[in-house]
């Protein structure tokens, strides 16, 4: 079922899941032992967005 056709309850649930996933990601990213991953991930993400902006 697409988001557009979802009932309000479903959408809330999805938002909740997305929020949980984001919080988990944030928690993992702030763990000291994941510092190299956080740095690499941040650089890779910025690079991807910047290149898309620059190419077109």
């Amino acid at each position: 079922m697409g988001v557009a056709s979802a009932r309000p309850g479903d959408l809330d649930l999805r938002m909740e899941f997305a929020s949980i996933r984001f919080r988990r990601l944030l928690k993992a990213a702030t763990k000291v032992e994941n510092l190299p991953y956080t740095i690499l991930g941040a650089l890779a993400l910025i690079s991807l967005v910047a290149r898309l902006i620059l190419i077109f």
Partner: protein, 542 residues
């Protein structure tokens, strides 16, 4: 933790704080970045990547730009240009610290980190905008992810980070493709027992290389130059064209260049003696002038231990790192950690020697091998607990701390004065590597203030240092290439009293044509090259 570890930790904190402040405030100072690494972002913002007529250097097209593109937000901010490189330095040190602490304890870990900070070339690159340190950082992250993958019972999330590290490495620099390919082969070899997982890894690697491998610059290079890596003569110039002879010659140059005999800035005679000895050795071996890239030759050979971020060597810790690497060639100890690290460093050094042509700025190509060599040196010191080794640890740590503290102080643009200049005299400091560009910008600003309504055309030629002029919104220069400016002149689109600045006018056939209609302001800021700013005195084409 013992006093040695506590002392090393205190200096690591202090030195990181210093370099962090520097990375935050320093502008783009190196000429390469002002010419292509960062300059191409400014140009791509005006005309995109494909078929962009603004590009002024082949290097803006042929070199991968995954790491360079990271600096885009900082171009908007105007501050923190060196933060991406600094984060790479922090990440690398963290990986080394964690793995050393797990094996040898906190004392060894802190001393290794302070030793890394004592590698002058490494910290200069870690506070620069050049794209050499991301290779080291991506390699370190790959090693760290592999280490955690093995320790944590094969958790697949670490494999994802290994894949991303390879993709990022491949897109940061052309040589990253070579090193990344080797890491990918290693990874697949380790997973050879699990064919399904290996296929998933291959698919992941392909995806990572598409997303982060800077595929677009290869496509544009192929389109412009007919070759994926750039114009074939240009690519040949950068590589070792003398095969095994060149590789051996380069290896000996790198080994000789690792010997620290004091900073070059003090013009000690020992530097000349070292270079002349190396030239004589090469000549006797029949390897004179072999392995060079670009226009370099043995007669110009000098081993820089200067404060220049593009040229500097690795200092006394670098000498020890190289000694450890060579020691591993003499003693077969494949079970020992130090030997494995030193052997990996030697293989990397050999790979670099045999593939890349030697240049005066080749030191920064060796960052990863020196980092491995330095870590290997500390492994030797902590492998066994003996009174002699305990004394050696103190000696090593003292040299490392002295080097780490001296690194900013011996540099002409990294000391505390540079931080002050970055804030209070930013314009002059930004062009400290090429004062002539600073002079041009000052004059253009004056002209702009006098004539706010006029166009300022900046006619850039090949390899012009364009960034300091284009990023200056006050000057608001219109960048044009020589052919484009010819057309503008021919079509009468240059108005009377427009201002034209032509870079490197001596070689340009346009000079005479512009001189006919202008009152030139010819000047020289460095005593050798002259620059001309021309004010058009009549509408062109008439």
């Amino acid at each position: 933790m013992r006093p040695l570890g506590r002392m090393a930790r205190a200096f690591v904190c202090l030195i990181f704080a210093y370099w962090g402040v520097y990375a935050l405030v320093a502008p783009v100072t190196n000429i390469d970045s002002q010419m292509y690494n960062i300059a191409r972002l400014e140009l791509a913002m005006r005309g995109g990547l494909f078929n962009n007529g603004y590009f002024t250097s082949i290097y803006q097209v042929m070199y991968p730009w995954t790491f360079d593109a990271v600096h885009l937000p900082f171009l908007y901010l105007g501050w923190g240009y060196a933060l991406p490189s600094f984060l790479c330095l922090v990440g690398t040190c963290y990986v080394v610290f964690t793995m050393m602490r797990a094996r040898f304890g906190p004392d060894a870990a802190w001393v290794t980190v302070v030793a890394l900070l004592g590698l002058t070339c490494l910290v200069y690159q870690g506070t620069s905008t050049k794209n050499d340190i991301p290779l080291l950082f991506a390699g370190a992250t790959w090693v760290y992810a592999r280490w955690r993958w093995r320790r944590e019972g094969g958790a697949s999330v670490h494999l994802v980070w290994m894949i991303l590290a390879i993709g990022f490495m491949a897109g940061s620099k052309t040589t990253g493709v070579l090193y990344g390919f080797n890491l990918a082969l290693w990874m697949l070899w380790e997973l050879r027992g699990n064919r399904r997982l290996a296929l998933q890894i291959i698919a992941g690697l392909v995806g990572a290389c598409i997303l982060w491998g800077s595929v677009e610059t290869y496509i544009e290079s192929k389109h412009r130059f007919g070759h994926l890596l750039g114009p074939p003569p240009g690519v040949r110039e950068l590589t070792n064209r003398d095969g095994v002879r060149g590789g051996i010659a380069n290896l000996t140059r790198y080994i000789a260049g690792s010997i620290y005999v004091g900073p070059t800035t003090f013009h000690s005679g020992l530097h000349s003696i070292l270079a002349e000895t190396e030239i004589r050795v090469l000549s006797r071996l029949g390897l004179a002038d072999a392995g060079y890239g670009l226009e370099s030759r043995d007669r110009y050979l000098i081993f820089f231990q200067s404060g220049f971020e593009e040229l500097s060597g690795f200092g006394p810790i670098g000498t020890m790192a190289m000694a450890t690497i060579l020691f591993a060639c003499l003693r077969w100890r494949p079970q020992r950690m130090w030997w494995q690290l030193a052997a990996a460093a030697f293989l990397g050094l050999a790979l670099t020697s045999f593939t890349i042509g030697y240049c005066v700025w080749s030191n920064r190509y060796l960052l990863s091998w020196y980092a491995l060599g330095t870590t290997a040196a500390t492994c030797i010191l902590w492998e066994r607990e003996t009174p002699f080794r305990r004394v050696l640890r103190w000696v090593f740590a003292s040299i490392a701390i002295t080097s780490a503290v001296a690194a900013p102080l011996l540099s002409f643009n990294r000391g505390p004065g540079a931080i002050v200049a970055s804030i209070y005299d930013r314009d002059r400091f930004e062009t400290c590597n090429d004062p002539m560009v600073g002079e041009i910008r000052t004059r253009l600003r004056r002209l702009r203030a006098e004539k706010p309504a006029r166009h300022i055309f900046f006619v850039a030629t090949t390899n012009s240092v364009v960034l300091p002029i284009l990023e200056d919104r006050k000057v608001d220069a219109i960048l044009v290439t020589s052919p484009l400016f010819s057309n503008l002149l021919k079509n009468g689109q240059i108005d009377a009293r427009d201002i034209v600045i032509e870079d490197d006018p001596i070689d340009s056939p346009l000079l005479t044509k512009i001189e006919d209609v202008s009152s030139p302001d010819i000047f020289s800021a460095n005593g050798t090259r002259t620059q001309g700013i021309y004010q058009v005195s009549a509408r062109s084409g008439h």
